[in-house]
């Protein structure tokens, strides 16, 4: 119980710190934000009006508190560029980004775990070398380069898949899946390579343990040892990596969404930064980092359920 309490307090502190950073970084914006938004030739009344709508005439701490309150009510202010509420914009974007992240995660796991297992159990065979090379390559190629390469192959050359654009799921699952296939693969190929490494190392470590030798001397088949004993134990540390990969995948989706013109959070961020749309940037940054912090928290919890020893440390 104490473990969970400590973790929970840690979570709350991190959340508060993240919100503080997100809020105060944008307060050091050089110059008058209203002036930047309206341009240099804006008149005084306009600036004053904007300052009032942005709440810039109030003291800093008061603004922070009302911003945080707004977070709980789902009211993060009005976007200047879109003239819509920030929360509803984020909500729309999140639908696309969440789907993209979900597919990417599924691909990552579907590629990463089997290949990692394969490499671990065939560590000294010749066909493991080409696979290692491919996984090293896909680890090193930045996801947006991978995206461009995939577009050149599958859209420009083979004309199999759409190169850009998003089809919402309401227009048919298959169509929507097709529009997200290349983007999610571009993200997943890199992150699955990371997963492959961890799975391989973790399985190899587990294979060297005493209980595996015992199982072997009992006469169990290699396959049975692998799936009934080793797999379960070696996947525990992998859970942590999945948590870290969530952050990676979200970070990767920012650029990938722009390459494939997907109307998600990543695209909103880029637009909001180029148009200096403060309320929107703040809201987006806060949201994304909260998701990452909470994901890591959940990973910690799952980890402690799977491996209770961790609670004692």
């Amino acid at each position: 119980m104490r473990y969970y309490l400590r973790k929970l307090i840690g979570l709350v502190v991190t959340l508060i710190l993240v919100s503080l950073v997100t809020f105060f970084v944008f307060q050091i914006l050089p110059g008058d934000p209203a002036l930047i938004i309206l341009g240099l030739d804006a008149d005084v009344n306009q600036i004053e009006a904007l300052n009032r709508t942005l709440g810039l005439d109030r003291p800093l701490t008061e603004r922070y508190i009302s911003w945080i309150k707004g977070l709980f009510n789902g009211d993060l202010g009005i976007s200047i560029r879109y003239n819509q509420s920030v929360s509803s914009l984020i909500g729309q974007g999140l639908k696309v980004t969440a789907l993209l992240a979900l597919y990417s995660m599924i691909f990552t796991v579907a590629i990463g775990i089997p290949v990692g297992l394969f490499l671990a159990s065939h560590s000294r065979k010749k066909y493991s070398i080409p696979i290692s090379i491919v996984s090293q390559l896909s680890l090193s190629i930045p996801s947006f380069c991978m995206g461009i390469l995939l577009i050149s192959i599958f859209s420009v050359r083979l004309n199999l898949l759409p190169s850009i654009g998003y089809t919402p799921i309401s227009e048919g699952f298959f169509k929507s899946f097709k529009s997200l296939l290349l983007p999610s693969l571009s993200i997943a190929l890199g992150s699955s390579a990371i997963l492959i490494r961890y799975v391989r190392v973790s399985v190899l470590k587990e294979m060297g343990k005493d209980y595996v030798r015992t199982a072997r001397s009992k006469g169990l088949s290699k396959r049975r040892i692998m799936y009934a004993h080793v797999l379960k134990n070696s996947l525990i540390p992998v859970i942590t990596i999945l948590g870290l990969l969530t952050a990676d995948i979200l970070g990767g989706s920012i650029i990938i969404e722009n390459i494939f013109s997907l109307p998600g959070i990543g695209r909103l961020i880029t637009v909001s930064i180029s148009s200096r749309d403060l309320p929107l940037i703040q809201g987006l940054v806060l949201y994304l980092s909260l998701i990452v912090v909470i994901c890591n928290f959940i990973v910690d919890l799952v980890y402690s359920l799977v491996d209770p020893r961790i609670r004692l440390r």
């Binding site: 950073v21 970070g251 920012i254």
Partner: protein
């Protein structure tokens, strides 16, 4: 030295990096064409004898631009990593050596910075300070600091109570002397592996930011800008988009491989 080059990752990475550096050095003295010289009659030309890698949408020579683009990438990568390393090292060494309250506070801040996914932290800083060369470098070095601080801190924590440090302390060496002339040499190899990997991610992030229009600005020959310009001509000039893509990938691969090689030689698989 021989030990290093017998590691395949390190060897291949070094070969790629050497080729890139060769292009960089040549670009200081000579590029086939002026990087901003336009030739509209000859736009989107296929690779040929005059233009080895073809021309872009304004008829500018792609090879020359790629050569200058490598310069931009390596310059930004170098500046970002070295300042990230410097600050990370300072923060991490004090935090790890002295421990206590200070360490807790610093690490909480570092953890908070690490909660922002990927390039988001850099984007946030660019949103505040604006884009351009210097701000891109600042943003990317802030992004690199937490990683260095963490590695340094764990190294210092491990070594601060070791026998050789105790011996120095008894001999009367001051904290600064112990920290920087006795402990630091022991973690240099680990830091250099991290530096190489951070170099890769700085190059990647610069290209990504410039692609999004948040890093370097046209007509600067950043590889990211070339990529975003080339994407519009994917159907007409498929080779055009592939050139910056492959160049970025090669740069990133080179530093990743070198970093991996160094890490393997340090005796640990990540």
């Amino acid at each position: 030295m021989k030990r290093y080059f017998s590691n395949p990752s390190f060897l291949i990475g070094s070969i790629i990096l050497f080729m890139m550096l060769a292009l960089l050095v040549i670009s200081f003295f000579h590029t086939p064409y002026d990087v901003t010289a336009m030739d509209l009659a000859n736009k989107l030309a296929k690779p040929s004898q005059e233009h080895f890698l073809g021309t872009d949408q304004f008829g500018r020579d792609i090879l020359s631009r790629v050569m200058k683009g490598i310069e931009v990438s390596l310059l930004i990568g170098f500046m970002a990593v070295s300042s990230g390393l410097l600050f990370g090292l300072l923060i991490g060494s004090f935090s790890g050596y002295f421990g206590g309250r200070l360490d807790e506070i610093i690490m909480k801040i570092i953890d908070t910075l690490m909660a922002f996914p990927g390039v988001l932290l850099a984007m946030m800083l660019i949103a505040v300070f604006g884009n351009g060369l210097l701000n891109t470098i600042i943003a990317l070095s802030v992004m690199a600091v937490p990683r260095f601080a963490r590695i340094t801190r764990s190294g210092y924590m491990e070594l601060r109570d070791s026998d050789f440090v105790k011996a120095e302390r008894i001999r009367g060496a001051g904290s600064l002397r112990i920290m920087f002339s006795h402990i630091l040499p022991n973690i240099v190899s680990e830091l250099s592996a991290t530096a190489s990997l951070s170099f890769a991610s700085a190059i990647m992030s610069e290209a990504g930011l410039s692609y999004l229009g948040l890093g370097m600005q046209p007509p600067s020959p950043s590889l990211g800008i070339m990529l975003s310009e080339a994407q519009d001509y994917m159907l007409r000039a498929p080779w055009y988009v592939l050139i910056p893509t492959i160049t970025i990938a090669l740069l990133v691969i080179a530093f990743n491989l070198i970093g991996d090689g160094l890490q393997e030689m340090n005796g640990g698989v990540k």
